[in-house]
Point group: C2
Chain length 281, copies 2
């Protein structure tokens, strides 16, 4: 039998093959209008289908943003099921951006909806928010490990208000640093049982945080997982900013508006443009 | 014209009338089985309908837990729409327990799904998770104020892992203390424009946190909003624990399993039993 490949290693291979870019599926009402689609659940469904299909020739990951589906209620969630199912059929790696976080059986309920074969919102990965502590995410970690899924846990976000929580001091460092360390420890345990050095627990760290990590004594540059980095493109970070913040770590740049603004028919080219910028050429 | 009544003041009046109890609608699979219902979206729909109807003679608030609906995908979310609509028809005050938290237009997307008339998951209140900072919740605060809805922001949770984030030190105190202070400042601003001393921004503080707040220098006892306190009943907190933690503040005790375990036909009596315990008789 082959050893199973954890979802972090699987994603890292896709990043080598297709480039380190994750395209957000963010069906903003104004984007729907610009694309000539109705501002409705049907419009969201069509929007997502276009993104999934136009990028089916290759992108490391797609990241549907749940909030823009939730705005349309159960019908919006039906569009999300459709989007995730279609993406899976097309061979995409999907990261469901839901920032879930709770405790015990409630956390398990959220995980069950996403992180197992046949789940209604089945995806390869899920984003999590750790205000209740990294340890509270255990039910999601257990399910992700069982079914070879990845998790991306919020660590350092680029919005200015994030510092009020993420930079706070703990007996062992900072809130953000402790969460990074817990993710790294989990990855180390999982990697020790396999032949890879990249684990399935990723972080979310804004590409535009500047020198915040260094000032806090947090070393993001040798992480044994993948940093998912929003803020590339429209929000201003390019190749140099990514190198400054992340050093030699694996960084999956998340871009949404920059690519989606190109509109139907232009997504693949916009993806290629962003990838060229990311490579610093 | 009458001054509008903010949702915090509205809920406080209901707590005086019906007693300070919020009943969770948590359709766990094992509860569905115990109730003789199928473990499916239809079972969840029937379960929620029974709770809504049996408690329609009076309870301060109902709190559907989103995770237990999400497990069934879009069909589960349709059951949630049904639950919230039926609760509104029966005159209930609803708190959607979703612990949402994001930034900018994404946070606005979540708020739009809940906090306005005609929203698909329209509720009187929504729970929020502030890992991205209290300030990141602004789009939800704005919409809640515009449409007289309440918000409950996680402050101090009773799970042991919560301390790793919530107890962390900031230049002005602690993460939890700063969020409490920000909520209080928002309430003070809103109350100053009206004739009430209870604002619409509540907290979530575990009833079983013991002396954690005191040790951290956080004063929960004179808050100008409502503390939503999980952990009453099945998790072990009674009248004395609530008084210890919350002093003279308004506390809305959240109970789920203790009441739901009574099964169909027994919910109103179980509610009355918990209320009697809460009153310390």
């Amino acid at each position: 039998m082959n050893a199973r490949v954890n979802a972090g290693a699987r994603l890292a291979k896709r990043m080598e093959r297709y480039g380190p870019l994750c395209v957000g599926i963010d069906p903003h009402p104004h984007l729907l209008e610009n694309w000539g689609l109705p501002v409705s659940a049907q419009g969201v469904r069509d929007f997502a289908q276009i993104v999934v299909d136009e990028l089916a020739d290759g992108v490391a990951a797609l990241k549907p943003q749940v909030a823009f589906f939730e705005s349309y209620g159960a019908a919006g969630y039906a569009a999300l099921e459709d989007c995730l199912g279609r993406a899976r059929e097309r061979g995409h790696f999907t990261i469901l951006d839901a920032k879930r976080g709770d405790i015990g059986s409630t956390m398990a309920g959220y995980a069950n909806a996403v992180l197992r074969p046949g789940a209604p919102f089945e995806a390869d990965a899920l984003t999590l928010s750790p205000y209740l502590g990294f340890g509270s995410l255990a039910p999601a970690l257990d399910l992700a490990e069982e079914h070879d899924r990845a998790l991306f846990v919020l660590v350092l976000t680029s919005n200015p208000e994030g510092a009020s929580v993420q930079h706070a001091r703990t007996p062992t460092g900072t809130v953000a640093g402790d969460i990074l360390a817990a993710a790294a420890a989990t990855n180390a345990r999982i990697c020790a049982a396999s032949s890879t050095n990249v684990g399935p627990i990723g972080t979310v760290v804004g590409a535009t945080i500047g020198d915040a990590a260094r000032r806090l004594g947090i070393d993001l540059t040798e992480f044994n997982g993948i940093h998912l980095a929003p803020g590339v493109g429209a929000q201003g970070a390019g190749a140099r900013e990514c190198a400054d913040v992340f050093g030699s770590s694996r960084v999956l740049a998340a871009a949404s508006r920059t690519i989606l603004a190109a509109g139907p028919g232009g997504l693949a080219r916009a993806r290629d443009t962003v990838l060229t910028e990311l490579r610093g050429h």
